[in-house]
Subunit: 211 residues, 2 copies
DNA sequence: TTGTCAAACCTACACCGTAGAATTTATCGT
DNA sequence: ACGATAAATTCTACGGTGTAGGTTTGACAA
């Protein structure tokens, strides 16, 4: 163990720590993640981390924030139309989830109130509002969209294998209709499936304009 | 400590253990939950539990299964029309989530493959199929519906207080549009809000028939 | 009676999050 | 140049965790 001498800076800060934590969880999973393992990865004493981050909960928050930031990257290339900007955000969000499948549960579980999250929501709702969608539809949209995104991605990624496979085979005699439908679920986790369902959700938001 | 004598039965079984675990998590939260605390609650040695349930992961699965079973209770009163049965299931699911807000994250995070879960899905898809919905729409419906339900309920319940309050106040100068919309979010977590979004999702599923 | 077996318990181990204090270095006003 | 102060890191220690492996007990069948 290459120990550091006390007093000298190890160049630790919230950002570096969070980045290392994401790498660690991507590799070993959330179960095996812990402050001690992270410290070893950083070549540092476990308690050093606590000088930059209050505790494990705050550490998990920092990780969420770090991966969320990836979504906003390159936001200047984003389209202006509300449907297109929503689709763009949803796809960026999905790609982030596939890049960090073992970190993603943190995002879905913990409330996101970081500036980067709020900024993304603000972009969405302003675009919708300018397009003339009714206020209630706009106000509902974020919870509805990210509700779906979080739940869907959680389900699709919970398989665990990096190459997303198909669902577990189901008993044809006990559940005949579902068995009949399985051929249509070959693309479980595919972009095509994602786009189908995203279209349906967007349609649900759009049609609120008619009431 | 009223210790039991070895050899005698303590009347433990998977069901009783899971029920006690749900009560414990409802009271103290997932963070504080552990095999030892559960054992104390049951008046039993921690390791006794492992004779009925493989490990902590299996214990969490058993808890999910237990609360899921509440949803299916009284299924004979369920309607026949696909939209109504879907609404009925969604409401039952929501009520269960509000009854066990601290257990619910387990449901959303872990893949549900228990017979009770599959039976509910089978009811849904058969009703949809008999109503003449296109096969792809039917095949997509469960993932889409429960994706939304899980994500939405996760978000709504993550506040933590038993009486669901309002969202945290947001900075009006940094996020002007969102600030304008906040009055429309007074019913955060209410049945009315839930019904609005559920309607939109159902509409999204229904309109797939037209393509 | 005796043998078998399942259910419960006991012991022990490696690991965890973190409170609190000690240690070293950098910084800055004088 | 110097002493005080502050900040970053490490050290030590405590109470908790999940669970592997072995031991005890009682019930029941032969």
């Amino acid at each position: 163990m290459a120990r550091r001498t006390q007093g000298t800076s190890a160049g630790l800060d919230r950002e570096r720590i969070a980045a290392a934590a994401v790498v660690l969880v991507d590799r070993d999973g959330l179960e095996r993640f812990g402050v001690r393992r992270l410290a070893e990865e950083l070549g540092v004493d476990p308690m050093s981390i606590y000088h930059h981050i209050k505790g494990k909960a705050a550490l998990l928050d920092a990780m969420s924030e770090a991966v969320l930031a990836e979504v906003a990257a390159g936001v200047d290339d984003a389209p202006r139309d509300w449907e297109e900007i929503t689709r763009w955000t949803a796809h960026r969000y999905r790609e982030m989830a596939y890049r960090h499948p073992r970190v993603f549960p943190l995002l879905a579980t913990r409330a996101q109130t970081s500036p980067v999250a709020l900024a993304a929501l603000e972009r969405l709702v302003t675009a919708m509002r300018e397009a003339g969608l009714p206020d209630q539809a706009v106000a509902d949209a974020p919870l509805m969209l990210f509700g779906f995104l979080n739940g869907y991605l959680l389900a699709v990624l919970s398989g665990g294998s990096d190459v997303v496979g198909d669902m577990p085979a189901i008993d044809a005699t006990a559940y005949p209709t579902m068995a009949t439908l399985t051929p249509l679920q070959v693309g479980f986790g595919s972009v095509a499936e994602f786009d189908r369902m995203l279209d349906a959700v967007l349609g649900g938001i759009r049609n609120r304009a008619d009431r």
